[in-house]
Amino acid sequence: MTKSADKPVIDPFEAALEVHDIKGRSPWEDAWHRLLKNRAAVYSAFIMAFMLVLVVFGPMLISWESDFTDWDYTSSPPSIESGHWFGTDAVGRDIMVRTLEGGRISLLVGLVATIVSLVIGVSYGATAGYFGGATDRIMMRVVDIIYALPFMFFVILLMVVFGRNILLIFVAIGAVNWLDMARIVRGQTLSLKNTEFIEAARACGVGDWAIIRRHIIPNLLGVVIVYVTLTIPQVILIESFLSFLGLGIQEPMSSWGALVSDGAQDMESAPWTLVVPSIFLTVTLYCFNYIGDGLRDALDPKDRL
């Protein structure tokens, strides 16, 4: 601006610009600052980062193999001397290394299945919202219908029908978990669709798909980030649920849900086999939920005050 410092501001337009200057932070910066103020979310993020490092590198540092059975120490409680810091299970396998390796699977499922649901949900929702009219009505009616179905049972049904393999778990969970995402993205798209810059793009002859790709999807980023963070724990939960029932991950692979299930069998003689994976699973879900909540509050300032 070329305004000299002592000239009185009388032009309303200029005054408006000045007001804007005072709070000239971008919405993303604003959101970031709000997020940093949310202590629960910040701690959770640190814990999750630590958890990730632990799960990825931990098993390499532990001298036990996850399938090594230490017959000298079956169902032995946590101890430093034996080298099994978190104890062993009924056949002498080290709980710590099993839990960390199970964590790899659980987190991987969380990530991959979320991506699956993200891809389906965003493309479905953005399409419905963008085209509107009858297309939108029919597509959303389908979502309503699927919404009313007992989807957990369908996941189980899918597992029964197609056998239990890990790829299928990703797809099955992702495929039933995209509805929320689709609804939200559709709503946002609808409200974005008529804003000026989209009109302008259209006036310049930019095609429908290009508009969706270049304008709508970037604008949806905020909501999508929030829901991705909230979907990850849901998906981890569903996987562990299935594994707990014996319908998910199969031996020799393992996940937190499967370990909790094993632990529940032996809990009277070896409670640590239940407690250790339970804590890892719970802490993870807890942290993801807090991060998701924090992101939502940060990115959606209308809930402030």
Partner: protein
């Protein structure tokens, strides 16, 4: 209102149809027949069995046969429990599941709304923060983690309650009902808190306060109903979540409910049973959602009015 209800009722038909169709074809495209576990059957017996269960007919014909049966609520014979029909198994298991589920739902509604209101009225206080922290815990800790831990503490170590089993006694119900309701309590508490805070900021609450009514009256008479509306609409999804949860709970506590049959059926590839339970529960959820919608409309004069016109 009545016209609207009838319309909504008709609208349920495509949902049900979709439910049945998806369940049916999923099962039928499954690799391996239902009698796989009995590989040693002589071919003629297998053919007999296939004929008995109409597995030799073309798929489309089977579909319409099944549809015809389901319309009159006949889910056919079970593949694994030879002398039982699926209907008999449902009649056996559902009352058990429904009892636990209903008790858990009532508990969740009462406790969840009370906690939510308490937190909202003391927004940003210590009570609020700790209640919401616990609520987050309730949402985050899976019930298959809580259940074994409660069994370990209250049944195995303390010996106060039975670790499982079912004889319709209250003692047997306590742990399953609590475990099943915890996530719902947590969710409802968060929901109630949020909506109560929002309602307390609305203009009509300001009006009520300007009238000089005591705060307790303002809350009971003016804020409670709108604050509970979101909870009412959550009851549909809550039922669905509880039905899913019951699958695990019944297994952990050895409760002979419909969820147990379902998992057993799933592990045994008892197709008719699995399909029957999915469709039965699906219909139940659809109908409950419908009822919840009606209740919601009935509690909300604006919707009632818009539909009168």
């Amino acid at each position: 209102m009545i016209k609207h209800s009838l319309q909504r009722l008709l609208g349920l038909i495509p949902t049900m149809l979709m439910l049945i169709t998806v369940a049916f074809f999923l099962i039928r495209v499954a690799p391996g027949g239902p009698f796989d576990s009995e590989k040693l059957l002589p071919p003629e017996i297998e053919a007999n069995l296939n004929a008995k269960y109409h597995l030799d007919e073309p798929l489309v014909q089977q579909y319409f046969r099944y549809l015809g049966q389901v319309v009159v609520l006949d889910f056919g014979p079970s593949f694994q429990y030879k002398d039982w029909t699926v209907n008999e198994l449902i009649a056996q298991g559902f009352p058990v599941s429904a009892t636990v589920g209903l008790a858990a739902m009532i508990l969740a509604f009462v406790v969840g709304t009370l906690l939510g209101i308490a937190a909202a009225l003391r927004q940003n206080s210590g009570i609020d923060y700790s209640l919401m922290g616990f609520a987050m815990l309730g949402i985050s800790v899976p019930n298959f983690v809580i259940a074994p831990i409660l069994i370990l503490l209250l049944a195995v170590y303390a010996g106060w309650l039975p670790a499982g089993g079912w004889d319709w006694s209250v003692a047997n119900m306590v742990l399953p009902v609590i475990t099943l309701s915890l996530p719902a309590i947590a969710y409802i508490a968060r929901l109630t808190r949020g909506s109560m805070i929002e309602v307390l900021h609305s203009n009509f609450i300001r009006t009520a306060r300007a009238k000089g009514l005591p705060e307790s009256v303002v809350i009971r008479r003016h804020a409670l109903r709108p604050a509970l509306l979101p909870v009412i609409s959550f009851l549909g999804p809550a039922t669905a979540a509880m039905i899913s949860g019951s699958v695990v709970i019944e297994r952990i506590f050895s409760i002979p409910g419909l969820g147990s049959y379902f998992v057993q059926g799933a592990l045994n590839r008892d197709y008719t049973l699995v399909m029957g339970v999915v469709i039965f529960y699906g219909m139940l959820i659809i109908i409950l959602n419908f009822i919840v919608d009606l209740v919601y409309a009935w509690l909300n004069p604006k919707i009632r009015y818009d539909e009168k016109r």
